[in-house]
Symmetry: C2
Subunit: 348 residues, 2 copies
């Protein structure tokens, strides 16, 4: 993996983004912002599942007015997602929001932006310049490829904010198309020193959307690009947080909870590996320690992977060898495998 791109750190509430800080995991509420009760509940769920920065839509005045009530009852940094109307950005800042996301595709009036920037500067609230392919005006440089158009429009706003002596800036250039997204981020990474917020927009349902997101975000992180990530999925926001951590764990960038190594099973397996893996995985959801647990179906890779894990099973015919920290500590029958493994996980 390449070394990480250096970016200027900024603080969103209590969380540092950029400058070598751990890559922060973001998500977004999917409740009606004006319903403060359900919104607060979802933010608390998000905190519990590991979200570190939460964003919520502020589509109208009533939503902006809900901010103080919500802020009082949560501890996660809160970002207001603003489109079209700069007055909602001003209202959110006045209501004590920790950061803003503005979309240059639908908010470009310089006088209006200048007012928002002035208010954000006074409150030291960072602004994300959040480009999306889907909201880029068709009239903006239509002769260029999408990646270049997103980068150019984002950079115009970056430069305008810099001209106002504002540098609490984050940037994103998201598209549904993964190759376009990767290209856009690679381009903008060389043009600005600000932290980059990565994501694949409108990626769809978890089954396919997590794969799309993992490829796009994964390629960029592997190249050292990215300071905070949000996986966009048509699902409960904790599913986004789960996927985000899996991406970061895979690349060795963050730790969170247990990791299950399990074989796909094949004609060689003599126990039901898939079911055992599912049962172990279900138990591991409750395990906070960053341990590695292996469930392996046979002697081909079983002993090797089980040895390499903190706890592991390498199965044979109707039984399995239990490994702990690289050593076989016993052999048990199939029906005792789950229970024995759980005991060993708990004893770690």
């Amino acid at each position: 993996m390449m070394s990480r791109r250096t970016s200027i750190p900024l603080r969103i509430g209590k969380v540092t983004v950029g400058g070598g800080a751990p890559i922060a995991v973001q998500s977004m509420t999917k409740t009606d912002t004006r319903n403060t009760k359900t919104t607060i509940n979802q933010i608390k769920e998000l905190e519990e599942c590991g979200c570190e920065i939460v964003r919520m839509a502020v589509p109208d005045k009533e939503a902006a007015e809900a901010i103080p009530t919500i802020k009082r009852q949560i501890s996660l940094p809160l970002i207001a997602d603003i489109h079209f109307d700069y007055r909602l950005a001003l209202a959110a800042l006045q209501a004590g929001i920790d950061g803003l996301r503005l979309n240059p595709g639908n908010m470009g009036d310089r006088k209006q932006i200048a007012q928002v920037v002035k208010a954000a500067k006074e409150r030291e609230a960072p602004i994300r310049i959040g480009m999306n392919a889907g909201s880029l005006p068709a009239t903006f440089k239509p002769q260029f490829p999408m990646a270049e158009r997103m980068v150019d429009m984002a950079m115009e706003q970056v430069k305008f904010m810099e001209s106002l002596d504002f540098n609490l800036i984050k940037v994103s250039v998201k598209a549904f198309d993964v190759l376009t997204t990767v290209q856009a981020y690679k381009m903008i990474a060389d043009k600005t020193p600000y932290p980059l917020h990565l994501g694949i927009t409108e990626a769809g349902l978890p089954r396919a959307g997590a794969i799309r997101s993992a490829i796009g975000i994964g390629i960029l992180l592997y190249q050292g690009i990215g300071d905070t990530i949000r996986v966009s999925l048509s699902a409960h926001p904790c599913e986004e947080v789960f996927a985000a951590y899996e991406i970061l764990k895979t690349l060795g960038l963050r730790q969170r909870g247990a990791t299950l190594v399990s074989c796909p099973s094949c004609g060689r397996a003599e126990i039901d590996v898939v079911r055992l893996a599912q049962e172990v995985d279900k138990y591991l959801e409750k395990v906070a320690k960053p341990i590695k647990v292996a469930v392996m179906g046979c002697v081909v890779n079983g002993p090797g992977e089980a040895k390499d894990a903190d706890v592991g099973i390498a199965c044979g015919k109707g039984k399995g060898a239990i490994f702990k920290k690289g050593k076989v500590i016993g052999t048990v029958t199939e029906e005792k495998l789950l229970e024995t493994l759980i005991t060993e996980i708990n004893s770690l």
Copy 2:
């Protein structure tokens, strides 16, 4: 994306792998190979869900003897997965297998390999030199990092087979650790001209395993490396095939079925986007055409994404605008959205 690495093409049954051929999707049966009925059924399921090459474990003589019966009733190319015992490789070749996977980590005796290579050459059956981190002997170059150890052991076997004037070779160097896997493939890609079979081994259950696999396989494919892929998941093998195609579709390398663009929903949405996306996705499972369908919750990115899709919905308050090939063709109430969208999908 970088240009694809050039590799020497080979044929596995009716499928060409390497040399610029479409990246082939593989999976593996998870039935008891000796039970020819369930194995044949699973291979037929695999063919139906898009698998192009199927591998099955041949762990004993009885499994090898099942090959002719299985071969007679399937049309997918069939590869025998062999470990430990070279005689099973000979038996599989004699039984008419289309290709072999041998694991140099547990089958290294040169006299034995030479016999297998001779028989494979006579039958023009390709051999995959299939390294796995989990089955690499601890005594093999323990002072080196895992990626280098896998590459070195695989290359020893490549060179030995070349010395026997055999070049129907494919190579894989899989590990659970994604960074190790990527590093190993990048190294071996420069050392051999043979097609590479990509995978992340023992990646686990689909929810996390598809993400791990997408990152590892995705990074390599993005760099132009890889000729055939197998996603290893503790699940029904068609789940592996689904994930494989999503990876390839994301990178523009293959087309298969419809693609759903759907927004994650947020406090701005005034209809139940997630439920609608789920319903549309369920319908799209039956659609074979490589179309793009967008389900978008609001006016921010909705019209842009819906215009960009073959068919799309951009929702507002209790209703949605229907887009087709870039144009609004009508507006319908929430309860008619699914039905209208399906009608338009079918009319494409």
